[in-house]
């Protein structure tokens, strides 16, 4: 009975954990008892765990993570700082929208990682090129989501504030900005995923350190457990960032907290 009640109350957690654990156990089981393990092509969770532990103790992965984070932070920050104002301007002024819409849409729709070799040629190997790639990939979700948020501001609320004698500044700060904020945070989640792709691809192409570099180096040398350990670190970082954004969204938009947003 107790188990049943616990399940009913924590269904989400229980089922989620169960699927992850089944995956890991199934993987381990298959490669231990069903197929013989060829360590050049495959690895299994127990070996990954050992490698992860070693790497963590030696600290190499954390150093790589720190290197990648720096580039990510620079690129992402610039994406926020430029993307939001550009999107807002596009939302406020038709002229700006018409000028940039076609151009930005084309860039957003294209797989911009294709530009990675060019960017590395221009900016060289290192922080700058990686940051530029992250920026390029993550700026568009900010632009388009801010734009959509500003454009979908409820006209009624604008009229309400105007009717009480609100100035244009009041409209921006008391209506347009708060109603756009959830759109921006949703954009940030998309930008996050794209930015991570940017950093990894950048490091695949040309780098001497960083998580992406670690993954590609371990892969090239058939050290699969270490490679998966690096991927695991990346996954953990990504999950923490995504969850952080969800928490931020709840903090910034408590009126939406009862809505299930994912």
């Amino acid at each position: 009975m107790k188990v049943k009640r616990y399940y009913a109350e924590h269904r989400r957690l229980v089922l989620g954990l169960l699927s992850v654990i089944s995956f890991i156990v199934g993987w381990e089981f298959l490669l231990t008892y069903v197929f013989p393990l060829n360590p050049f092509f495959l690895t299994k969770p127990s070996l990954v765990a050992v490698a992860f532990n070693e790497q963590v103790i030696r600290g190499a992965l954390w150093r790589d993570l720190a290197v990648s984070s720096r580039a990510f932070l620079w690129g992402f920050s610039f994406a926020v700082l430029l993307g939001i104002p550009i999107g807002a301007l596009m939302g406020w002024r038709r002229r700006v929208e018409y000028t940039f819409d076609a151009f930005f849409t084309a860039l957003y729709a294209s797989p911009l990682v294709a530009l990675a070799p060019l960017i590395i040629v221009v900016f060289g190997v290192g922080l700058l090129a990686k940051s530029a790639l992250v920026f390029l990939l993550s700026v568009f979700p900010f632009i388009f989501n801010t734009f959509a948020g500003v454009r979908s501001t409820d006209r009624l609320l604008i009229n309400v504030v105007r009717s009480f004698g609100g100035t244009e500044k009041d409209l921006y700060f008391k209506v347009i900005f708060p109603s756009t904020l959830p759109y921006i945070v949703a954009g940030a989640r998309i930008a996050l995923g794209r930015g991570l792709v940017g950093i990894i691809v950048g490091e695949f192409y040309a780098a001497s350190e960083g998580i992406g570099f670690a993954i590609s180096r371990f892969g090239d040398t058939y050290r699969l457990p270490e490679m998966f350990a690096a991927i695991l670190v990346l996954m953990i970082a990504a999950v923490i960032l995504t969850e952080g954004l969800r928490k931020l969204e709840m903090l910034l938009a408590p009126w939406r907290s009862t809505l299930e947003t994912r």
């Binding site: 105007r162 009480f164 109603s179």
Partner: protein, 258 residues
């Protein structure tokens, strides 16, 4: 004596892009005395809401004169406040912060704002809900917030644009009764737009019936029922007689269109 609200030959034509222009109001005139409760009824699209927006100062008429207390209306001002049909509450603000909106825009210091908002929240019967967000309230409660917000700036004129149209029938009856009480207590001048003849007859001193578009005054009916009015009054033959009189005038406008 000059009327408190004076509208003379208001004409307004909308010219939407790629569509023929629409004349919403044509030579519409109306006088409202101070403290009077006036309702405007008319077919859909006859320009009654447009007229409220002109009174509010959000729309300028193409021609005609509109004055409040002898001074022309040129834009929004806190002497006039609107209660909106779809409530128009800011979803990211609590009940209290919503009620404070007008005061905040006026620059009233925060402790005074807070005190006045609390008083009005009490007046509309929402004590205990100060920290709730609009999505946590029922439709009736939302409109109470809308009413409190409009009253917070102590306007002389309360403009109500089908304020109870989005509510269910019982909530609507309840809100009408409470509005009458609040009106009697605060002595505001009210211009009330509605589709409901019953609502107009129950609440008002006068009912203005508008023609189909372009809107002008079709007829003005004085509602000679004693005040304070209560729900039982709506069951009397006199009330029904008034309703059918309003309906008789309005019917011609509806049938001339369909």
């Amino acid at each position: 004596m000059t009327p408190f609200i004076k509208a003379r030959r208001i004409t307004l034509t909308f010219s939407p892009k790629n569509r023929p222009p629409v004349t919403a109001l044509q030579d519409f005139s109306l006088d409202v005395a101070k403290g009077e409760f006036v309702s405007i009824v008319g077919p859909s699209g006859c320009g009654k809401s447009t007229f409220l927006n002109i009174l509010l100062g959000l729309i300028k008429p193409d021609s005609g004169e509109i004055q409040l207390n002898g001074a022309p209306i040129t834009g929004p001002s806190q002497e006039r406040a609107m209660v909106f049909q779809e409530f128009g509450l800011l979803p990211w603000r609590t009940v209290k912060a919503n009620v404070e909106l007008g005061l905040e825009l006026k620059g009233v210091p925060s402790n005074e704002r807070s005190a006045r908002a609390s008083k009005l929240i009490e007046l509309v019967g929402l004590r205990g809900f100060e920290q709730h967000y609009p999505h946590e309230l029922s439709g009736g409660m939302k409109q109470r917030v809308g009413l409190a917000r409009a009253l917070a700036t102590e306007p002389e004129v309360l403009l109500m644009d089908e304020p109870f149209a989005a509510l269910d029938a019982q909530t609507r009856d309840l809100m009408q009764a409470e509005l009458l009480q609040i009106w009697q207590r605060t002595q505001k001048t009210v211009v009330f737009v509605t589709h409901s003849i019953e609502e107009a007859a129950y609440l008002s001193d006068r009912v203005i019936v508008m023609t189909a578009r372009p809107g002008r005054t079709k007829d003005i009916l004085r509602i000679e029922l004693p005040r304070p009015r209560d729900y039982e009054m709506r069951l009397t033959p006199e009330f029904n007689e008034i309703k059918s009189r309003v309906w008789g005038v309005l019917k011609e406008e509806l049938s001339s269109r369909e």
